[in-house]
Structure formats: C-alpha cells, structure tokens
Symmetry: C2
Subunit: 501 residues, 2 copies
C-alpha cells in the first residue's frame, strides 16, 4: 500500500511541477513581460493549463486515492498520509466534478463579464454589468450544485476558500465583528481631526521607497536567497516552491504608506508560504490551511506589527535614512498616529483597520442574498448604497466607487470576501496569544528583533501547512476556534488611545 501511495505521490509531483511552471509564467506576465508578449503568453498559458488539468485529473489519481484511503486513515487522522489524501481528494473532486462543457461555459462567461465590468466601471454604469452578474451568480450556484448536490450553495462556495467553514459559523463571527467595530468607527468619526496623516503625504522618491521596502522585508525575515521583491500594478505574492517565493509591491510618489504596507502585507503571506516544512514540498500540504489563515499572516505583519507604536520607533530612523531631511523633526508618536488615521471610505482596498471589516460585512450580506436568490443583480446598487449609509453614513456618488469597485464577482468569485475578515480576527487571536507567550513583544519589535515573532508563527501556524482545517489549526495555536473578541479588544484599545475616547 505504501508503494501505491508513493505512486500517487509521483503522479501528484508531476502535476505540481507543471503547475509551478504555470505559476512562473503568470508571475512573468504580471512583473516582467513586455506588452507585446500578451498574445503569445495567452497561448502558452492555455496550452500549459490543459496539460496541468489533464495530469491533475488523471483517473489513476482517483483510483489510487480510493485504494489508499483506508490504509492512510489507519495511520491516524493527524498523520501525514491521512492529511495528504484528505487535501488531495478535496482538490481532485473539485477538479473532476465539473463537466468540461460547464468549465468552458463559465470561462467564457467570466471573460465576457470581465470586459463588461471594466467598461461598466469606466462609465460608472451598473446596468450594463447587471446581466453579466446575474449570469455569474447563476454559474456559481450551478458550480456549487455540481460540487455538493443538494447542499446549501453558499456553504459550498465558502468552503472553496475557507475549508470547513459554514455560513452558520460565519454569521455570528462577522456579526460580532461589525457590532464591535461600529461604535469604534463612530467614536473616531466624532474626533477625526485628532489624527493627521499629512506627514506621509509629499514627494517620496520611488527608488528610495523600493530600497526601503527591501530593507523592511529583509529585516522581518524575508530571505532574498529564496525569493525576490519586484514592483507590479497590484501587489501580490506567488510561490513556485518553498524556496522560491516572490512578492511584489507598488509605489505612490505622493503617499508613502502605499509601498511600505503593501510590502509588509505581502511579506506576511510570503513568510507563511516559505514556512512549511521541507517534507511538504511538492505535496498538497505545502499550501496554507486556507485563505483566512493566509490573510491572518499578512494582516498580522501589516497591521498588528507594522502599524504598532514600537514598529514606528524602529521604522523612523529608516525613513530618515531613505528620505533625508523629511522626517528630522518627526517623533515616533507622530509617525504612529499618521499611519493609523481611520475614517469612513468608499473604497475597500483603501480602508483602515477599523472600517475594513464593515466593507466586508456589506459584501457578505449582498453575496449571500444573491446566491439565495433574494437579491437580483440589477438591485445591487440600491442595496449597496443602503448598506454604505448604514455602516458608514456615506453614500457613493456613483457605481464606480460603489458596487462596481471590486472585480471579484465578475469572475464568479463568491464566498471569498469573508476570508479577509476571518484573517483579521484570527490575527487578533494570534496577537493576544503571542503577547502572553512573549511578554516583551513590544520591546522585540521596537528593537527590530523580529525573529522570535516569526519563530512563534512558524511554530504555531506555518509548520503545519495544510495539515488541518483552519478552525482546528487555530485551536492548536491559541486554544480556540475563530472568534471576534480579541480583534475587537485590540482595535478598541488602540484607537481609543489614538483618538482619545
């Protein structure tokens, strides 16, 4: 049976190595490819995707999973073998349960919806996008039905991104989060003048921003012998193996936090991606436990570390070094204040720690209603604006800065947004536990001794790869499944001090 398992691993490794090749092509496309390369790249990507799909859905894989399943279970539910098969079977089922005619139909619909969304956003005209959204919702429902016939569709979609999570478990979490954050946001709104981010606006040489970004992530623990950082249109992280993980950042000449916090955020993802044990290489366990846990790592470094008072102490001399003269009279306290200005906003990706999850709550409300069929695509803008009024007290002036701002729904990506909030609340839980384990956490950060922080995350989270469901991983790491309390407490304590309430 061990021999069959090894045979299965060989088949998986072949498919995974080709999948890594595809990821290299995707990275190059977003980072280094000249514009003229686009048509050729589309051909290569499509040819390679067909090969990967065919290798990953080979009937032998299904047969070997079935044949080795009981043997692996006998090794124990927490054994490498059992976890390997559990994750592989999940991915294999997802890849094989969708009829190829449906895959073709949804790819074509998503491509049309993408173009329609781009045009609709440009013209700020939701009605031109509505039929496409209706179609993509229909496709998401049919996808869910193929994957888990008779099961609640939204649960099935959510599970694609957050394994094991169900709506019944998510509702109270996101509800508690929104309930906890709303009064903080309201208190801040009354004192918005108490904090200014003027310090971070100005004219910051972009080459210096990139050099600073490299220094920051190197100090946090990003190993440049096993990765690189580049610039791209939108920051992202990708990995081809445990020892080739790449991040990108962006720069805005007039707004310094853009590059700093994009780099720290992606570095958080990368440290997780680099942190699985070597024996998970080329196995389905090398990836993280789920998108929520992944986001907990990026947000932990970006916000809980990167936007902390001690981190600002560490950062300040570096700002002075890279931007001579600009921060000479700035104190760490002023810097801390400037990178933590909070307030209502229309655009999710620009939202701060306090308001971010309210954007997610709104999207969650709407996408569950769409899947349930109680909201029609054409009525989304009205529901959107009502939600904005309820959560933030503001209403977008047009659909481009309202219901059309995100690309996700146009691609049928429904069930994904909640993982952002799950990431935030898990980051809060991890921070609470870490602070108990490392009482001098603030001192470590202020002195730039990030190694113990990283080592704690490696031990509690990274080394487990995809061995466990996210909720079980959190139980192992902090003793409890996902809960909103620690994150809300963190936000309240931090922002009441910053804004004085």
């Amino acid at each position: 049976m061990r021999k069959k398992f090894d045979e299965l691993r060989g088949l998986y490794e072949e498919a995974a190595a080709l999948g890594e090749a595809r990821a290299v092509l995707a990275w190059d496309q977003r980072v280094t490819m000249p514009p003229g390369g686009a048509p050729g790249r589309a051909r290569s990507m499509s040819a390679l995707s067909r090969v990967v799909h065919s290798k990953a859905t080979a009937p032998e894989i299904g047969r070997l999973i079935d044949e080795t399943w009981d043997w692996a279970q006998a090794e124990g539910p927490d054994s490498f073998e059992a976890a390997y098969l559990r994750v592989l079977k999940r991915d294999y089922d997802r890849a094989t349960k969708l009829p190829s005619a449906f895959v073709g139909e949804s790819a074509a619909a998503a491509s049309a919806a993408m173009s329609a969304w781009e045009a609709a956003k440009k013209n700020s005209d939701f009605s031109a996008f509505a039929p496409h959204l209706e179609k993509m919702v229909d496709i998401a429902r049919r996808q869910a039905e193929y994957l888990a016939p008779g099961k609640p569709h939204y649960d099935t979609l959510l599970d694609l991104y957050e394994p094991g999570m169900r709506r019944a478990g998510l509702d109270p979490l996101l509800g508690a989060l929104a309930d906890g954050l709303k009064p903080v946001a309201a208190a801040i709104a009354e004192r918005s003048a108490a904090v200014s981010d003027e310090l971070m606006r100005g004219d910051f040489d972009e080459r210096a921003q990139l050099a600073l970004a490299d220094e920051i992530v190197r100090e946090l623990g990003f190993d440049f012998s096993k990765g690189r950082q580049d610039r791209s249109m939108h920051p992202f992280t990708t990995g081809f193996s445990l020892s080739d993980v790449r991040i990108t950042t962006w720069t805005m000449r007039g707004w310094l936090p853009a590059s700093i916090y994009a780099s720290i955020h992606e570095c958080g993802h990368a440290l997780y991606a680099m942190g699985a044990p070597a024996e998970f290489e080329l196995t389905p366990l090398a990836d993280g436990a789920g998108l929520g846990v992944h986001e907990s790592q990026s947000r932990f470094w970006e916000n809980i570390v990167g936007r902390s008072r001690p981190f600002c102490e560490w950062l300040l001399p570096r700002l002075r070094k890279y931007f001579p003269g600009k921060f000479d009279r700035t104190s760490a306290e002023q810097l801390y204040s400037a990178v933590n200005k909070s307030g209502p906003s229309f655009i999710r990706v620009e939202a701060d720690e306090v308001t971010y999850d309210m954007h997610i709550a709104l999207r969650y409300r709407l996408e569950t209603a769409l899947i349930d069929g109680v909201l029609k695509a054409k009525d989304v803008p009205e529901a959107w604006n009502a939600g904005m009024k309820e959560y933030f007290g503001i209403v977008p002036g047009n659909d481009a800065e309202g219901a059309l701002q995100d690309v996700h729904w146009s691609q049928g990506t429904i069930g994904y947004f909640p993982t952002y909030s799950l990431g935030n609340l898990m980051a809060g839980q991890l921070a609470e536990k870490m602070r108990a384990d490392l009482p001098d956490m603030d001192g470590l950060i202020a002195r730039g001794e990030f190694q113990p922080v990283l080592a704690w995350l490696r031990e509690r989270i990274h080394r487990h790869g995809a061995m466990y469901f996210p909720a079980d991983l959190m139980k192992k790491a902090v003793g409890k499944g996902p809960e909103a309390g620690p994150y809300i407490a963190y936000i309240k304590k931090k922002y009441s001090a910053l804004y004085g309430f």
Copy 2:
C-alpha cells in the same frame, strides 16, 4: 489535404506554445530566479521538457508530415507549405531518431562532464576532464550515426547548427579566412603600440552603463514594447514569440566596452528574432536560417556598425552624457581607435575582430580531429598549445586559459564553433552589399539613422525566417553563397588604416 496540413499545424502549435513556456522558465532561471529556486526549477523544467518532447514527437506528426509531403512539394519548393514541412521534418527526425536510452545516457554523461569540466578548469587540470571529453566525443559520434547512418559524422553534427553546410564546403572557407587574417594580425603585432584602449578603462558606474545600453539598443531599433534588456551572468538572447524577445547584457566596472558591445551583439540577434513575418509565428519557420546567419546579424551590428568610425561619432556624445567629465577631451577618432585595439589573446570570448576567427580555426581543427579519431582527448592540450603557437605566437600558461576555457565540448556541442566564423564572413558579405545599396551608409550611422540599415536586413534576411538554407539565403541576399573575401577585405582596409601599414 489542406485540412491535414492545418491539423499538423495545430499539433505543432500546441508543442511550440509549450516550448515557449519552457523558454520563459529558462529565462527566469538565468535572469530573475533567486538561488533557492534551483531545485524546484530543475523539477519544473524536467517535467515540462518531457511534455514538450512527447508532444513534438507524437506519431501523428510523423504521419501527417508523410501524408502532406507530396502535396506541399506541389505548391513549389519555395512555398510556405514546402518549407514548413522541410524544417518540421528535419526537427521531427532529429527528435525521434535518438533512442530514449541514448538520450538518457547522453544527458547523464553531459551532466557529469559539466561538473568535471568546472572542477578541472578551476584546478587547471585537463587530465581530470580528458575521460569525460573522450566520452562526449563518443556520444557525439553515436548521435551522428543515429541521425544519419553511414554518413560522415562531423557533417551530420555541423548540419545541426548550420543546415546544409558540409565539411567539404567549410574547409576552404575557414582556410581562406585564417590565411587572410594571419598577415593582418602579424602586421598589427608589429605596431601594437599604435592603438591604445586606455580610454575605455577606468571606473564606470554600472547603472549608467545599463542606462546607456538601453538607449543604444532602443536607437538601433530594439522595440521595448516587444522585449526587454536585463543583466545576467553571461549575455544571451531568447524569444518566446515574435513580440516577446529578450536580451541580456553584463557590466564590468573597469572596462566600458563589455556592456556596450554585449548589448549591441545581443540586440543584433534580437532584431533578427523579431524580424520574421507575423504569419511565421508558431511555425518552424519563425526561427532563423541557422546559427551562422544568426551570428552574422549579431556581429554585423556589434562590429561592422558598432565598431565603425561613424558609430563612434554617434556614440561619443552619449558617453559624455552618461559619464560626465570622462570623455570631454576625447575625439571620435580616439574612441574609434580605443574600441578597435587588436592583438593576440588566450581567451576566445575576449578576442577582437581580427583574431577571433583564428581561435575558431584552432577549435575546428581539433574537434574534427577528435571526431575523426585521429586525436585523443588526452592529447588535446598539446595540440591546443601547438595551435596557439602557430596562430598567435603565444602559449597559454595553463589549461584553464587554454584547452579548458570553453564549456561547449563538455556538453557534446561539436560542430557549433564554425558558425561563429561563418557569421563573421557573412556579415562581411552583407556589409559589402549594403554599402553598394546604401551609398551613404556611413552618414546614416553617424547621424544615428539606423532605420534604413535595419530595413535592409529585414528585407534581405529577416523576413525569410527559416524558409531557406543559409547558403541559399545568402545567394538571395547578396548574389553569392558564403565566401571569405569581403570580410577579409573589410578587415584589411580597416586595420591597415588604424595601425598604419
């Protein structure tokens, strides 16, 4: 039959698109990959190579070539269809005639030989490499026998790189070249103090060198929307499609010509690679006619244009711009002299226009003797040193700067070196003809009007892709097959003026 031809094209396109994907991985490996990526990349490359090989050697391709062959010939020998099948059949036969056990054996032997060569070169100890060279010569002979049973082995190997060329045709060409160049080199040796390259030595900011290199290739016609230039350990050119062609250069802080001429050289290759007609995309005709013709393009731009008197006039103000203060009192004449210093040298890749082909003549003499079995691997250093004495009047102090300097033979790459000299002499023929067609060629170059020069090469060479054998292409372009006369005349005229003899 047209339908069968289209079916064949579809199969080829699939394999070619995957081959392009593999080329992207190889580029990344040499240009952007962090060191930690090596093991993962080896796996991806190997998995992808197996897929490409299997697609490119599919029996359907062989069947369709056979079935459409006569139909394509009926379209005329110069038709797209006939040329398509000729080149595809050549590549298909080469890929299918080697037994897979032999392919495995030679890959393993080449890998071992590479390691042995690296160690032997480091220790300057040829004897440690000799058994590996003997093995690689044996493998080259067996490869030739598989590809063309009963045919002279060296001819078969040569044909891999220079289609249609045979030793009987090459001997007189290389002989004439060496005979023509030797007296020039001798005359230069007597007057070596007449030319100094001190001007190009010093301390040149490497970022400025790269910016200058970008400006130069852009002005020559390299389209950055269809390509890019990076830095790598050794300069090279690669292309993934006609509109994604990438070059690399290198920089040496103390020797300015390194980056300038590497960039111009690779730009010459790239302009050829970008210059095939769009309808050749994803066909076997998109590549060049052969390595000699490819080298004729790189050498034409590097030497005949880039080391010309008018080019130095154009270059000088740019040197002043990128290296303020360094060239203020330099004249174009002095610059021209400094980039054309000639003299005997041990290392081929550092050799100048006059002596380069004598290095090739030596290698050609030795590799034909190895393949013929009249020279044993262990006796190579002695034969090498005798040849150096004969051609240059100098003998290397050790094997590292002698017979161990080049990697090629360790990889079984035999029959390749002559294409460098063929490139030089074809460049000489093209220059002679171009000068007749563009009487103001010097004026165009001095004014930086490179477009007519490029257009001439596009019309005479580039647009034909791999439609013709190199010799036939030259006949079309300049009215004659390869000959050494024009290159020798060019060298004599240029260097007698420079050195005053």
